[in-house]
């Protein structure tokens, strides 16, 4: 039994969106991170990470988001994370104060809108 996750990269009006589906834990966090890093170019304004399809995320997932935020910040890129308001993983991100570093939105559309407005 292995942890299954799928990474899909799309672009909405020039802004790359990385959508994760499945579970993120020790078994696959490193792989997910390298996949996402390799897909964001310096010419893009930022990255929206869509976690709507993630059913499980542990501290390795939190670590992944924080590392991503740090890397993007070094490259002067914007970073927003989207997931539904009632998502169970939102609670995990709030408990670990990820929201202090990365703004959390309730949908990809909201994240894209905020990013276009310069946030």
């Amino acid at each position: 039994m292995t942890t299954a996750v799928e990474v899909r990269m799309t672009e909405e009006a020039g802004i790359p969106v990385a959508a994760l589906e499945g579970e993120i834990d020790l078994a696959n966090a490193a792989e997910v991170r390298s996949q996402i890093f390799g897909m964001v170019s310096n010419t893009a304004p930022g990255l929206v990470l869509d976690l709507s399809g993630v059913t499980y995320l542990d501290s390795r997932g939190v670590q992944l988001i924080l590392e991503l935020a740090e890397r993007l910040k070094m490259r002067h890129l914007k970073f927003r994370v989207a997931m539904p308001e009632k998502s169970l993983i939102r609670r995990i991100l709030l408990l670990t104060h990820v929201d202090a570093v990365v703004p959390l939105d309730t949908s990809v559309d909201q994240a894209l809108g905020m990013m276009r407005e310069g946030a």
Partner: protein, 690 residues
């Protein structure tokens, strides 16, 4: 009848001559003795048992009446006739009252006298005859009774001995392994023979003198067990070797053979001086072992006991040979399992697994295999298959199929797709049968595909049924595969097997099904391991020597809502299974969805840490115990078997997250790793429990 003897007592010499004369004349054959006075007459009467006594009443010294009373006391059965004077009626009456048989008045009427005496003698002789016969009868009856008693005792002893032998046979043949056989042998020998010391040895070797005397070749057992018994094992083995080395009988051995044990004492018993030694030989006469029994001085072994002990050694020989065969078969099986069969079955909470592989009695490897997999979605994949043919080729095809199936199954593919891909893999020469089952431990739904293999058997409280749907064997082209489905009752057991289990000598396949079904029906609720063992044993006795048997049983055991134990390899891939199992358990424990999510995340966090710490070149394991009682959930996660120095663990968010989710977290470093203990009060349960 002996000639009658009569005594005549009278002081009157004329009568003392005339009366005997009359008796001899009128009662021929009668021996008459005479006596002139009462006192010497009494002496004679004491010595001789007369048939009648005739006495005068009036005699000097002791008179006739006194003599009568003495005779009555001395010989109450002897009739006495008294002679009275003429007209002495009162004397006559007194004599009758005193117990005289009759009286005769003087002058003596010879007719009357002879008639009376004749009657007296006749009655006396008849009485004696009757009492003699009675004595003989009594004696005979007594003897009869004694005989009956003897026979009953003998019979009872025989029955007891038979029962003892039967008990012994049951114990010996029920024993598992050489050590258990030896133990039951010495116990039995003590019980059967009343020996106070018994030793039995089992020998593995070629029977040459050098190996016979080698203690490493011997397994031994001594009864009674006692710390006080000081006998060197070397001495015991030397004695066993001497017994095995005898040509015909151990009775040829000189007493000095047993000298090393004669002096030993146990429980205050001993020294011993009566010894009985027996070699145990196999069917071909090869030495298998030996037995020595000892009793204290003066209590030798009876011939019956010796016969019984000889019978016992025959039983022991059979038991030891069977045990050897079984051990050898198991040894080969273990080698084969190591190379081609799963190294160990996965441990999945709520699923109990047991598997056996018994190779046939041939040199070439067969093509049977089985496999158990934990699939990505947490379901269980169960495989059993059989490649036609044998030898290296069959084994190679089997290895290929096994690995390909594993790979396709672990990708999460459904049975039909796996079958399709396997078909592409095999060439025209290959014919193989297999069953692939996907079992969901939570819903108990089964998806399966049977490619020409024997049907899986389902054992549930309702009975034994077969999953009989299926397709042709692998290797047949142009089949559009479609999976079949079934839903199992709670606590069902699935059993898959290869044809060696059914194809037992002298049985049709239907009879084989009936036999296995009967065992499953009878022992369906036994522990899975026992169930598998019993099914295997039912086939073992009459098994066709060449056939392999592979057998796997899977039971769906309901999770206990009070407790969950997980034990898995310390690799990251185990985490998904931990979550899957926790979700299932938390649901069955009726913990609400949000709290369940918190608990699952916290425990998974601790498990991830455990895995990171234990992760190394060797196979580490970690375990996770979760309990729920009185609304308090406790969880302990620890890595086991390996020690590793602390390496900045629980850095960052892990510990924070666990604390936030559970409330109470303690990290306890131990000698073999770190344990994380967590507690959480569960407020909202899905349903209020009464």
């Amino acid at each position: 009848m002996t000639p009658p003897r009569v005594l005549v007592v009278d002081d009157d010499t004329a009568l003392l001559e005339a009366l005997p004369e009359t008796i001899r004349l009128r009662m021929p054959g009668t021996a008459v003795e005479i006596c002139a006075s009462a006192v010497p007459a009494l002496e004679q009467i004491a010595a001789v048992d007369y048939d009648a006594i005739v006495s005068d009443i009036k005699m000097p010294g002791m008179d006739g009446l006194t003599l009568l009373s003495r005779v009555r006391a001395l010989r109450p059965d002897t009739p006495v006739l008294l002679i009275t004077g003429h007209g002495e009626h009162d004397l006559a009456i007194r004599s009758l009252r005193a117990g005289a048989y009759d009286y005769v008045q003087k002058p003596i009427d010879r007719e009357y006298f002879v008639a009376s005496l004749g009657r007296a003698v006749q009655v006396r002789q008849l009485r004696r005859q009757i009492s003699d016969q009675q004595r003989v009868l009594t004696r005979h009856a007594g003897r009869l009774e004694e005989t009956v008693q003897e026979r009953t005792t003998e019979l009872r002893q025989t029955v007891e001995q038979l029962r003892a032998l039967t008990d012994v046979a049951t114990a010996i043949h029920g024993a598992r392994g050489v050590d258990e056989v030896l133990k039951s042998v010495v116990d039995a020998a003590c019980r059967l023979s009343g020996a106070s010391l018994a030793m039995a040895g089992f020998y593995r070797g070629d029977g040459q003198a050098a190996t016979l005397a080698d203690p490493a070749r011997w397994a031994t057992d001594i009864a009674p067990e006692s710390a006080g018994l000081r006998i060197a094992r070397e001495d015991v083995v030397r004695i066993f070797a001497a017994i095995c080395g005898t040509e015909r009988s151990a009775a040829e051995l000189p007493d000095t053979t047993f000298a090393p044990i004669a002096r030993a004492s146990v429980n205050g018993d001993g020294p011993w001086s009566s010894f009985f030694a027996l070699p145990v030989r196999g069917r071909l006469g090869q030495p298998l072992g030996a037995m020595v029994l000892a009793r204290p001085a003066g209590r030798a072994f009876t011939p019956e006991t010796r016969v019984q002990l000889e019978a016992l050694t025959l039983q022991v020989a059979v038991a030891l040979e069977n045990t050897l065969l079984y051990e050898r078969a198991r040894g080969t099986a273990e080698t084969l399992q190591r190379s081609l069969l799963p190294e160990r079955l996965p441990e999945i909470p709520g699923v109990v697994l047991s598997a056996r592989y018994l190779p046939g009695n041939h040199e070439a490897v067969g093509g049977d295999w089985y496999d158990v997999l934990t699939l990505p979605n947490g379901h269980i994949g169960l495989v059993i298959g059989d490649v036609a043919g044998r030898g290296v080729w069959a084994a190679a095809v089997m290895g290929q199929l096994r690995n390909a199936l594993r790979a396709y199954a672990l990708e999460g593919n459904p049975p039909a797709l796996i079958a399709e891909r396997l078909t592409r893999l095999v060439d025209d020469r290959t014919m193989a049968t297999l069953v692939y089952l996907m079992v969901d431990p939570e819903t108990r739904a089964v998806r399966y595909l049977n490619l020409g293999h024997l049907p899986p058997l389902i054992v549930s409280p309702e009975g034994v049924t077969r999953l009989s749907a299926g397709a042709p064997p692998l290797g047949v082209r142009g089949i559009a595969y479609r999976e079949d489905t079934a839903t199992l009752a709670p606590s069902s057991t699935i059993m898959v097997y290869t044809d060696g289990l059914l194809e037992v000598r002298g049985e049709s396949i239907d009879e084989g099904f009936a036999r296995v079904t009967e065992v499953l029906r009878r022992c369906g609720d036994a522990p899975v391991d026992d169930l598998v063992e019993r099914v295997l044993l039912s086939a073992l006795a009459g098994r066709t020597a060449e056939d392999d048997v592979a057998l796997v049983a899977l039971r769906l055991a309901p999770l206990s809502p009070e407790r969950l134990d997980i034990r898995l390899p310390a690799v990251p891939a185990s985490l998904a299974q931990v979550r899957q199992t926790l979700r299932r358990w938390l649901k069955s424990a009726e913990v609400g969805p949000e709290e369940a999510y918190d608990v699952m995340t916290a425990i998974n966090e601790a498990c991830a840490n455990s895995i990171e710490h234990a992760y190394g070149p060797t196979d580490g394991l970690f375990e996770c115990e979760v309990a729920l009682a009185g609304g308090m959930l406790t969880a302990t996660v620890r890595d086991i078997g390996r020690w590793r120095s602390a390496r900045g663990q629980y850095r960052g968010h892990g510990l924070k997250l666990m604390e936030a989710l559970m409330g109470e977290v303690q990290v306890v470093p131990g000698p073999t790793g770190t344990a994380v203990q967590m507690r959480k009060r569960i407020a909202r349960q899905g349903r209020v429990r009464v």
